[in-house]
């Protein structure tokens, strides 16, 4: 190993693991000893990553309060190195960390809130696409409808939540009265997406969720209608299918149909 590689390896081991081999490479002065000098780097490393978590999970930070969030961030930083070139992605594993860690697993709403915030971050800077318009859809020839498949806006995400996380998140971000965490009778499906520059979310019925999943998996419109028939019966299905599609297009969820 070259001298430079050894210096860098030892320096990084000091930052990440507090190992002391770096001491052999660095010099201090009478005024400022080595330990103080190295300590500036160690402190900056920890606080920079903790700040990145704070900026990606502001509602979670608010819910936990300063001291508890600080403890969480410190533990995450201690156990998670960053392999990312951009610090934007450092918090990626925080939801799973919360779900698995003995200190936090007893409050599963925390992991869900973190998952919600992380999903919103992904929606925020997902790729752009021009939404399909009602007018463009109206130009589709009648004989093409059954085989029509949809392209979804790159920002569309679906998330199943066991807790009333969107309500908690909303209260925390709008300084509203914070609702108690409550468990849904069954996991509720949520849809998140971005239209122009604004992030939207709403809950889905089980039926819409099933049709939406199928549509995102590339099922053609004819098969989506059959799925609705099975769920709602032949009388209701056609009008329901048309209404769903109108809503998806109007919300900017669909960026193409072919």
């Amino acid at each position: 190993m070259s001298g430079l590689a050894r210096v860098q390896g030892d320096f990084q081991d000091y930052l990440l693991r507090a190992s002391d081999a770096v001491g052999a490479h660095v010099l201090g002065t009478a005024r400022v000893p080595v330990a103080t000098r190295l300590g500036i780097y160690a402190g900056a490393y920890r606080s920079r990553l903790a700040e990145a978590l704070q900026s990606n999970f502001p509602a979670l930070a608010q819910l936990l309060g300063e001291a508890d969030f600080h403890a969480l961030a410190a533990e995450y930083v201690r156990t998670h190195d960053s392999p990312y070139f951009s610090i934007r992605y450092y918090g990626e594993a925080l939801p799973q960390f919360l779900a698995a860690h003995e200190n936090y697993a007893a409050a599963p709403v925390l992991a869900e809130l973190a998952g919600w915030e992380w999903t919103m971050t992904g929606v925020f800077d997902a790729a752009d696409a021009t939404p399909l318009t009602h007018e463009a859809l109206a130009r589709v020839a009648p004989q093409q409808w059954a085989r029509l498949r949809f392209t979804w806006h790159p920002s569309v995400r679906r998330l199943a939540l066991s807790w009333n996380v969107p309500q908690i998140w909303q209260a925390l971000t709008e300084d509203g009265e914070r609702p108690q965490a409550s468990l849904n009778p069954a996991p509720l499906q949520w849809l998140l997406w971005r239209h122009e520059l604004t992030t939207y979310f709403r809950s889905l019925t089980d039926t819409e969720s099933a049709v939406l999943d199928a549509a995102r998996d590339g099922w053609p419109f004819g098969e989506l209608c059959e799925l609705l028939c099975a769920e709602l019966g032949e009388a209701e299905a056609p009008a329901h299918a048309a209404a769903l599609l109108r809503d998806w297009v109007g919300s900017g969820l669909i960026s193409g149909a072919a």
């Binding site: 070259s2 001298g3 660095v26 400022v32 900056a44 960053s82 392999p83 610090i87 971005r194 520059l197």
Partner: protein
């Protein structure tokens, strides 16, 4: 090879100011953008960057090149930088003379290098590879540092000068970082300026720091303090009217406040150049930097 033309006086582009920039068209000559913030698929960051680019020149300033690391260059990162540059057409691309991690890890810090022949050869080779990949010369910035390495055989300024000259790259001189490191390592900041070849200096950064008594920490979170203004005036005398920007990374004040600070930089630069003209000496590679007289600070502030 010629340097790109000077852009004048700029600011770091910050999210808090997007709307004000578009609405008010502030008197800023150009903006420097933190490259990584725009290496995302889409949404607001790229939307605003595109609109601001329609109105102002840009420079791209990265923190992840890790030019001094012994880990392989991150070619995927560089590919994304190149793609962003193709879209935004920045006047130039800069990063730091440092390393940020090894072994697949990123410390997200700008870590210092030992100033050895080995490190010099390594950095020079990598700058060559990056410049070939990006198809343009890059600027490298001096970082603030808090430790010195036992192995170092060169001074920081000798190392920076040699990298720039051997790799044929340009220099982004952070005057605050020179000031911080000079105090932390007990060297003469003016000697540093004197050693840097004027023809390589494409840009200057101005910023603030935190005083811990026995040492300074580069925080980039406060107004430019007087000693940094003084060193800037010396830099202007030494290097001429180089593109200058104020880099505030935290505690971001309203845009108008930064514009006022930028006006101070303009006035100070003009005063420093006038002083030189009055002396009959143009800024040149060999002219010795001098301490800027106190009166210029008063003039700049008035």
């Amino acid at each position: 090879m010629l340097k790109p033309p000077a852009l004048g006086f700029g600011l770091g582009l910050r999210v808090d100011h997007y709307e004000a920039i578009l609405a008010d068209r502030p008197p800023v000559d150009w903006f420097e953008v933190l490259t990584e913030n725009y290496l995302v698929p889409g949404g607001k960051p790229l939307h605003y960057l595109t609109r601001i680019r329609e109105r102002y020149p840009l420079a791209m300033h990265g923190v992840s090149m890790s030019i001094g690391s012994t880990a392989p260059l991150d070619r995927e990162y560089l590919r994304q930088v190149k793609a962003l540059a193709a879209r935004m057409e920045p006047a130039w691309i800069s990063d730091h003379l440092c390393w940020t991690g090894v072994a697949g890890r990123n410390t997200h810090d700008l870590l210092p290098l030992p100033y050895t022949e080995e490190a010099l050869a390594h950095v020079v080779e990598r700058v060559g590879a990056v410049q070939e990949l990006l198809g343009r010369r890059i600027l490298l910035e001096n970082v603030s540092s808090y430790v010195a390495f036992r192995d170092s055989r060169l001074t920081e300024w000798e190392f920076l000068r040699e990298v720039a000259s051997r790799a044929d790259c340009l220099i982004l001189l952070d005057v605050n970082n020179i000031y911080v490191s000079a105090l932390n390592h007990e060297f003469d900041a003016l000697e540093y300026l004197q050693a840097i070849p004027a023809e390589r200096v494409q840009q200057i950064h101005l910023a603030g720091h935190e005083d811990h008594g026995d040492y300074l920490v580069d925080t980039h979170d406060s107004p430019v303090p007087d000693p940094v203004w003084e060193l800037y005036a010396a830099a202007v005398r030494r290097f001429g009217p180089v593109s200058t920007m104020i880099e505030r990374d935290d505690h971001i004040p309203p845009l108008a406040e930064l514009c006022a600070e930028l006006a101070q930089a303009r006035a100070l630069c003009a005063a420093a150049l006038e002083d030189d003209a009055a002396d009959g000496s143009a800024p040149a590679a060999d002219s010795a930097p001098r301490q800027r007289p106190r009166r210029a600070v008063a003039a700049a502030g008035s």
